[in-house]
Symmetry: C2
Subunit: 190 residues, 2 copies
């Protein structure tokens, strides 16, 4: 029985949101989960809206921990793309919340800056770099969204043999790897 604090409230709320979705998070259920009166929560986090804001802030803070790894330019760009992809997929409900609140640009700012830095080091600058950054981020987002789609309805895959014979197409994970590598290579060639 840990004592109540803003942090544990946010912790438990985050878990509940990622398990059942935002609309399933009620202040009363959260209070029950915490073993506390509903109104105690209000003292620590203000209200429901402020609580959701706290989840968003935590996610944004987490994005600032992105560190490129690898020695070559393409390895470093690829590592950024992979990390963003992984984070977007890890907490989709909170990401949706960030989106609804119009804070997605803020969320992606660190990744954007990291990509721009690596491109600059590779000699790609100006509008060419701007285009490259967008291309990579847009693709990462498209995959993060669509992979969830295809996974959740396995019967209706985005690519069925009914459409092009050929047997099993590669899974979303391999497709992401291949497409991102291709894109990064193309971007580095100018």
């Amino acid at each position: 029985m840990t004592t109540l604090s803003r942090d544990v409230v946010v912790d438990v709320a985050l878990r509940m949101v990622e398990e059942d979705g935002v609309e399933q998070l009620s202040m009363r259920k959260l209070a029950a989960e915490l073993g506390v009166a509903v109104t105690s929560i209000y003292w620590h986090v203000g209200n429901r809206d402020a609580l959701l804001d706290a989840l968003v802030e935590r996610e944004i803070a987490d994005m600032h921990t992105i560190r490129p790894t690898g020695k070559t330019a393409d390895a470093r760009l690829l590592s950024i793309a992979r990390t963003v992809h992984k984070r977007l997929r890890a907490r989709p409900h909170v990401i949706a919340l960030v989106n609804e609140r119009g804070l997605a640009p803020v969320l992606l700012l660190p990744a954007q800056a990291a990509l721009a830095r690596e491109l600059d080091a590779a000699g790609i600058k100006g509008s060419e770099a701007a285009f490259a950054v967008r291309s990579i981020l847009y693709q990462v987002i498209g995959y993060a969204v669509l992979e969830r789609w295809t996974e959740r309805s396995p019967a209706k895959q985005m690519s069925g043999e009914d459409l092009w014979g050929q047997g099993e197409p590669p899974g979303p994970a391999e497709t992401f790897e291949f497409a991102t590598k291709t894109l990064v290579a193309a971007v580095l060639l100018g």
Copy 2:
């Protein structure tokens, strides 16, 4: 004072959802808007969940009206990409609803089939076609999501001069046009 029917209920619900978001649609507000008792709605649409399902179904039906235009292969592929992009952006709240319900693959099936058909006519088949279809759709989705992001917080654009000097980068619309043209051309080259 039109008589109540399933269709007008769905019409008004759709308008309210796109204006204020799903969470702002309450059965009671909808009833007030329709000038009718709350419980009347239940007779026509079942319940709130079934009503949201009806919005999703309407959106999916709308996607079946996609018709490629143009004579060359790249013009026809581009027209499909543009149409999907436009529809995704026209009703973002309903699209989010489609996504939450795991019906996005169903939503995109017509577009996917249309793309595959055009590629086939251009001599691109099998896994190569599967990859091309995914690439185009993922990019369209990434743009549809991110354009809304960048538009809603103009102060925090995805590309600031602070990052690469150069003055104003091209807007999202031009970037989408350019990126999609580039991608389609690349895909057609194999």
